[in-house]
């Protein structure tokens, strides 16, 4: 089995999905966005071990860049996406340079401030962002004749986005960069003894993570087509991105995606079945996973497989 088998199956199912269940496109787009955001978050939070609670900042940056490019500067959406990713990487670099001296929870706390600062900018710089009233994306150029407001187009864009993010993670998972990040996560002093510059590795991880999140933010912006600072630079959004990855399994290839399937579906299901009680059940679910599977679903599974494989090899 090649390391891309899983991704190929995922892509095949993804391509067929709208043909089989055309009524669930919006839900599927939400799921794909959360899967990719959580995967992108996980590059920094899981692989490099620096938990961020500010990733809504990157979502917002991507979304606002495409909205402003279309409405204020009449820039084509593909340029806007690239600019958004560039801005996100620059923000990650600046933020990381300032805060990677901080350890553990202090870095995490500082990330909450990033999204908050961007939210305040979005509210107050009315000339640019439309302020607290928000901004409406009313028209977008059509790349290759694609109507970006069409749900099916958005679905396939989100699918392509997820595949790109996971492909990138598979690319480094078993290679030099993947091990450098894991070493930094486990023990920075020991990583230095292996010739690794921890700050540099963390910055790279942060920039990749931020840029990829912004790419999804652009798709999200078009999907919503109406942006409000309070909604998009929203702490609960940051928290949900982080939780999705943590529950699914940090530092694993498919963990964040599994987490997204679980959380997005259960949120939807519980809302329909239990109405008012849905948040309670959602909370209990999160608690159960964190208490009994601290590595997350895929993390726990992977851990068990490694142990079992080793145990079996010693028996023979």
């Amino acid at each position: 089995m090649s390391k891309f088998t899983g991704l190929a199956i995922f892509l095949a199912v993804g391509i067929l999905f709208p043909l089989l269940l055309p009524g669930y496109l919006s839900l599927a787009i939400t799921l794909l966005l959360f899967a990719s955001w959580a995967s992108a978050w996980d590059v920094l939070g899981g692989w490099a071990g620096q938990s961020s609670l500010g990733h809504a900042a990157f979502v917002g940056l991507g979304a606002y860049t495409i909205a402003l490019s279309a409405t204020r500067f009449d820039l084509a959406p593909w340029w806007a996406v690239l600019i958004g990713m560039g801005l996100a990487a620059a923000l990650a670099w600046a933020w990381g340079s300032l805060t990677f001296g901080l350890r553990g929870p202090y870095f995490t706390l500082s990330t909450i401030a990033v999204a908050e600062i961007l939210r305040l900018i979005a509210i107050n710089e009315r000339w640019l962002t439309g302020g607290a009233q928000g901004i409406f994306i009313f028209s977008l150029r059509e790349p290759f004749g694609l109507d970006l407001f069409d749900r099916q187009t958005q679905y396939y864009l989100a699918l392509a986005y997820t595949v790109i993010v996971i492909r990138i993670i598979i690319g480094f998972a078993k290679g030099k960069f993947g091990y450098q990040m894991r070493a930094v996560r486990e023990d920075e002093a020991s990583a230095q003894a292996a010739g690794i510059n921890p700050t540099r590795v963390k910055l790279q991880a942060f920039m990749i993570s931020g840029a990829l999140t912004a790419l999804g933010g652009a798709i999200y912006g078009v999907f919503l087509s109406f942006l409000e600072p309070h909604d998009i630079f929203f702490l609960p959004l940051s928290v949900q991105i982080a939780l999705t990855a943590i529950i699914g399994g940090r530092g694993t290839i498919w963990g964040p995606t599994i987490g997204a399937v679980l959380l997005v579906f259960s949120a939807e299901l519980f809302r329909n079945i239990f109405a008012q009680a849905n948040l309670l059940i959602y909370g209990v679910l999160i608690l159960v996973v964190i208490l009994f599977m601290p590595r997350g679903l895929m993390g726990q599974l992977e851990h068990r497989i490694i142990r079992r494989r080793y145990a079996r090899s010693t028996r023979s």
Binding site: D187, A193, G195
Partner: protein, 240 residues
């Protein structure tokens, strides 16, 4: 013999406390330098100053005739240092092989080449049969050997061993002594901090004795062990 490491007038201060005061030393390739001294003498601090883990207040560290005094630990490692930690620090979530893969990637970006290098290191320290085991499950003696395998995988010119013998049972201790001697006979320069006097006498060609951060004696193992100031420092000031 080419000089691998040269340190001049090393001073390390933590606030008002002078942890290491004006210590100089040299190590040539194939030579084992032993650092001994009672508890709190500044052995590990000196060690950390040489490898970049403790800030130098004054002094100069040269590695292969290049000044590395201002370089971060990772940069010194890239220029030819390798080190172990007194309290072993495996990457706990990684397997034994993956642990060694991390430093092996310093020499190549190719996974296959890095893996070959990691296997070499593991075979050298006798951990190859444990390669797939989660490193968190290793016992003390094997954790020590894993530390060594990691330090060797960067292909260092000089190896810093921080109490690799402490806590080992007699057979494991004997194995480790033979192993370290083997490394030095291959031309590796070695600096070792050690508590066990017998080990130092057996291994080191040159010994530096520290007490309260100062070098109080220096010479061959026989010379320093018969030096009255050393005996006094150990019997008078030590609590172990």
């Amino acid at each position: 013999m080419p000089e691998v490491l040269e340190a001049e007038g090393i001073v390390v201060r933590f606030g008002g406390l002078v942890a290491v005061n004006n210590v100089s030393l040299r190590v040539q390739s194939g030579q084992i330098l032993g650092l001994i001294g009672p508890n709190g003498a500044g052995k590990t601090t000196l060690f950390n100053a040489l490898t970049g883990y403790a800030p130098l207040h004054k002094g100069r560290v040269s590695l292969l005739r290049r000044d590395v005094s201002r370089l971060a630990p990772y940069a010194r490692i890239r220029r030819g240092m390798g080190r172990t930690f007194q309290i072993e620090r495996p990457f706990e979530e990684l397997t034994v092989l993956e642990n060694v893969l991390v430093p092996a990637f310093l020499n190549t970006s190719n996974r296959r080449e890095a893996e070959a290098l990691a296997w070499q290191s593991l075979e050298k320290v006798g951990l190859a049969d444990r390669a797939r085991q989660p490193s968190a499950d290793l016992n003390l003696a094997r954790r020590r050997r894993l530390e060594l395998a990691k330090a060797l995988a960067v292909k260092p010119q000089i190896l810093f061993l921080d109490e690799v013998m402490a806590g080992l049972n007699p057979p494991a201790l004997k194995e480790m002594v033979t192993f370290v001697r083997g490394l030095s006979s291959e031309g590796l320069a070695i600096v070792m901090v050690e508590h066990i006097m017998r080990v130092i006498i057996e291994l080191a060609e040159h010994v530096i004795v520290l007490a309260f951060g100062e070098k109080i004696a220096e010479g061959s193992p026989e010379e320093v062990t018969s030096d009255p100031t050393v005996i006094e420092a150990y019997l008078g000031g030590s609590d172990d």
